[in-house]
Subunit: 130 residues, 2 copies
DNA sequence: TATACTGTGCATATAGATATATACAGTATA
DNA sequence: TATACTGTATATATCTATATGCACAGTATA
């Protein structure tokens, strides 16, 4: 399966964390359903050109958070997650990041109506396909 | 002067980086004008309960980026920065963080009109004073 | 059963963020 | 001049993220 996992090695955000967040988005967003196999640790490591340890770390975090299940010798699979839990992850993740963006704008001395204007402009650009 | 610098020691973001970003916002946002003194390295370190090294690192970064000037023995002061440069920092910083928030929402499978709705709700909450 | 996949565990290494401590150097002012 | 502020420099230590390498263990299948 072709997974749209993309990492940036220059980012301040740790690689394993980038991987975790992207899988969370794919699972909570419904693009990966329960039982779907994830790439093997070795395959993903090779794809992203990172060490097995880093991929392993990401998968361990995802398992701890309940998003995936690993079965030794068989592989790694999307876990069964209650719909409302997925929805909660989705809602709070997005809410938090948007709220943080608004707070940052306010800290730069924009007022609320200016923030709204900037935001609507960005949305319009996205609609046009950037 | 009472500066609204607040750090989180649990954050994944390095402390020196949090300090840099907050001063950048204060300066580019116009809350600190050229020549204004910053707290001494020792005073800020004591206030925030962090080591002098960390504060120093933050101030060095800010100086490298041209936002402040340090004078040995005298103190640290907001640098003279062209208005249009300040404006550019302000605009791009805010634009980037909002665009990133929108992209995250899209990665969670929200569509643009849903993102808009969430955003407007958050803005309304802010207007009411949270 | 042999082979080729899966995941697991461990020992070790490097780099960066951060910390502590100590000493040095420039400046202002009573 | 004494003292109390400033910033500067350096040596050392800890923690975390990340890396490499190697060996082990479970599973599927020809």
């Amino acid at each position: 399966m072709e997974l749209p996992i993309r990492i940036s090695k220059d980012s301040r955000e740790p690689i394993y964390h980038q991987i975790v967040n992207q899988f969370k988005a794919l699972i909570a967003g419904g693009h990966l359903s329960a039982g779907a196999p994830l790439p093997s640790i070795r395959a993903l490591s090779k794809d992203l050109e990172i060490s097995i340890i880093t991929t392993r770390r990401a998968y361990q975090d995802l398992e701890l958070q309940g998003f995936i299940k690993t079965l030794q010798g068989k592989g790694t699979f999307v876990a069964e997650i209650a719909e409302d839990l997925k929805e909660e992850v989705k809602v709070t993740s997005v809410h938090n990041i948007i709220e943080n963006a608004v707070d940052t704008a306010l800290s730069y001395d924009y007022n609320l109506s200016q923030v709204k204007e900037i935001f609507l402009t960005i949305l319009k650009d996205k609609e046009k396909g950037e």
